[in-house]
């Protein structure tokens, strides 16, 4: 378990990301899509932070912001200064995140040149060999291309590549969702292995509740670009507080014919400036102020908080 005293590694304050749909030369209106609406969270050193949400919840966008692949529109994202690269984003689909024309050796070592403390191609290759072995691949396969590997092996390779730059943390965006069931477990076990051996912090994003609650120390629930609840994973698994979390945890609730099953207003793509709670459209307990006022954070237990008007 993460210790409560662990120092904060990355701090997000009111981070927002708005995409502008590219308007043509003669069109005046610019469509805006708010992918992340004002998210604040603390990620502690060495902690596994899990993020769950359905498609379109903005969890991937948040991950890309935290991996510095994109700039937030507003808000601050600050990181403890460090010698090593702070984050490394691992993609969902390893077959598209590696250049199909390059050999494994090139994929692993080309990036090393641009890192601090580069010690020449020989050392980089030696490290590549070491990491290949560590992720359970044959170092003799260094001259193969990504297409020669199976899906699971490719994801192992992607992890090896991510570790080449010795990052402090990995941001794993749905890294097992595209894999076969019997291979998913292998990759998760490898991830835990690597975490312990390299002292990695993990930011683990998935739509799969089982995986997130099993893997994470703390977790957050996202919906419609908002963070709705945050809790230690075990606490959350026992008793989620937010109405949306409860629905996620127990989809049977949707059977009861109340507003939960109102699938028609599933996460609307916010084109205007969104107001209120993002879940208001589906919430069975919705009240008037849910639609107009952004819900405040309420402390529910130690480290457990939720953003909902109805909780006290």
């Amino acid at each position: 378990m993460s210790s409560h005293q662990a120092e904060v590694f990355m701090t997000l304050r009111d981070v927002r990301k708005v995409y502008r749909a590219e308007a043509g030369l003669f069109s005046h209106s610019q469509r805006e899509i708010v992918a992340v609406r004002s998210v604040s969270l603390d990620w502690r050193r060495g902690e596994t932070y899990g993020l769950v949400g359905e498609s379109g919840s903005g969890k991937s966008t948040l991950a890309r912001l935290m991996g510095f692949l994109e700039q937030p529109t507003s808000g601050t994202l600050s990181v403890q200064p460090s010698e090593r690269p702070v984050t490394r984003y691992v993609f969902q689909d390893p077959s598209s995140s590696m250049d199909p024309r390059r050999t494994t050796a090139q994929i692993l070592t080309w990036g090393a040149r641009y890192q601090n403390g580069y010690q020449g191609p020989r050392m980089a290759l030696a490290r590549a060999r070491l990491l290949m072995e560590e992720v359970g691949l044959n170092p003799l396969d260094l001259d193969k291309r990504p297409g020669d590997f199976s899906g699971g092996q490719r994801q192992r390779l992607a992890l090896a590549r991510a570790l080449m730059s010795e990052p402090l943390t990995l941001i794993c965006d749905e890294i097992v969702s595209a894999l076969d069931v019997s291979v998913q477990g292998q990759i998760l076990r490898l991830l835990l292995d690597l975490k312990q051996r390299h002292g990695l912090g993990l930011f683990f994003i998935s739509h799969d509740l089982e995986v997130v609650t099993y893997l994470s120390d703390r977790m957050g629930v996202m919906y419609g670009g908002q963070l709705l609840e945050e809790a230690p994973a075990e606490v959350w698994a026992r008793g989620p507080a937010h109405p949306y979390s409860r629905l996620l945890k127990d989809p049977h609730l949707a059977d009861q014919g109340d507003n939960y099953s109102n699938f028609e207003t599933a996460q609307t793509v916010a084109t205007a400036e969104p107001r209120g709670c993002s879940f208001a459209g589906r919430c069975p307990l919705v009240q008037a102020k849910c639609r107009t006022e952004t819900p405040p954070w309420k402390q529910i237990g130690p480290e457990h908080r939720a953003a909902c008007h109805l909780l006290s």
Binding site: R88, Y89, S96, S97, D99, R101, G111, A112, R161
Partner: protein
């Protein structure tokens, strides 16, 4: 290499094409010794002489030899064979002095007849109306025709990759500027642009500078189309995960562009090169045909066609004069087939059908 041979084994037509091209380029490189005569040498009694090589006679048996012919009509330039008179073709003869690659003085030729002792000269492909050996002229003409494609494609592709790549990768103002420039150039019909460019420049220049000029003009006309395609592909590829991944590794933008993005377009680039080369050859032919390309005394396949194969009448009476055109067609086709071969080679997913 092994992969190359495997791919080659599955594309016999491409293998033939490759051989044809290699042979042609070798012949072009050694045209001074391979051609029996100086291409500008006039044979006064042999205007529009038909090909005269044959392989058998009772006098010399099997082997290359020349059938003697004599002109019977000065006006229609009809020739008849002289029965029973043959001259043998010898390997390695001393004839017209030439300079190999422009500096190595030689008078040795791979084959020829014993003209000093009165034998008829060998005209493999006949002669033109001034009595110049067409075979020698095709070989020498290849010097321009076969290289102009390479040089032209190299120039236009470099321009296209650089400008299109930058426009696609950086976007914004440069994208706008470069693309509008391309559109402006595309808007003008190509042939008129060619004619215009050629006409504002001096037409009294030596063969070397007119060669350079034509190459530049052709490249100038053909880069915008390619640049637009390159720009579009770079634009979509720069969002690919593996590019983001390389960016994450702090790889500099130009390195990403040339190491990761442009190699993805290799099949397109190969096709545009292999289709572009015959395009340039044909472009030069078109210019020469209109009298705006290579002019006498220099000559290329294009100018040979325009000069000799220009009228139907000529073609009916002296069909061998169309041989430069045949060479042109063969080379264009060979490049197309070669393109398919190279595309397979560049495709990382290509597997030999077992």
């Amino acid at each position: 290499m092994k992969r190359f041979l495997t791919v080659l084994g599955h594309r016999p037509v491409a293998a033939v094409s490759l051989t044809v091209l290699v042979v042609m380029y070798l012949a072009m490189a050694f045209c001074e010794v391979l051609s029996p005569y100086d291409p500008t040498r006039l044979f006064p009694d042999a205007s529009d002489h038909p090909p005269n090589l044959c392989w058998y006679s009772s006098q010399w048996g099997f082997g290359p030899q020349v059938q003697r012919m004599v002109m019977i009509d000065e006006v229609s330039r009809q020739y008849v064979r002289i029965k029973g008179e043959y001259d043998p073709v010898h390997w390695g003869v001393t004839a017209d002095p030439v300079k190999l690659w422009g500096f190595l003085p030689l008078s040795w030729h791979v084959f020829g007849t014993d003209t000093h002792s009165g034998a008829d000269p060998v005209f493999l492909f006949g002669t033109d109306n001034l009595g110049r050996d067409l075979f020698s002229r095709i070989l020498y003409g290849a010097r321009i025709s076969l290289t102009i494609g390479f040089v032209g494609v190299a120039v236009s592709l470099t321009l296209a990759l650089l400008l299109g790549g930058l426009a696609g990768y950086y976007g914004g103002f440069w994208d706008w500027l470069i693309m509008r420039l391309c559109e402006l150039l595309i808007l003008i019909p190509g042939l008129y642009l060619l004619l215009f460019l050629r006409s504002i420049l001096s037409d009294k220049m030596d063969s070397a500078s007119s060669y350079a000029l034509i190459t530049v003009i052709l490249s100038f006309v053909s880069w915008p189309g390619m640049a637009r395609l390159v720009r579009g592909m770079v634009h979509s590829l720069k969002r690919a995960d593996f590019v983001t991944n390389a960016r994450q590794e702090k790889m500099p933008p130009l390195t990403i562009l040339f190491r990761h993005i442009i190699p993805q377009m290799s099949s397109f680039l190969i096709l545009s090169v292999t289709l572009g080369i015959p395009g340039f050859i044909l472009g030069e032919t078109a210019l020469s045909y209109l009298g705006l390309g290579i002019t006498d005394p220099a000559f290329s396949w294009g100018s040979l066609i325009s000069r000799d194969a220009a009228s139907l009448d000529n073609l009916v009476h002296f069909p061998w004069l169309f041989l430069p055109g045949v060479f042109l067609i063969v080379v264009s086709l060979a490049y197309n087939f070669l393109g398919e071969l190279l595309r397979d080679l560049a495709d990382p997913h290509w597997r030999a059908p077992s």
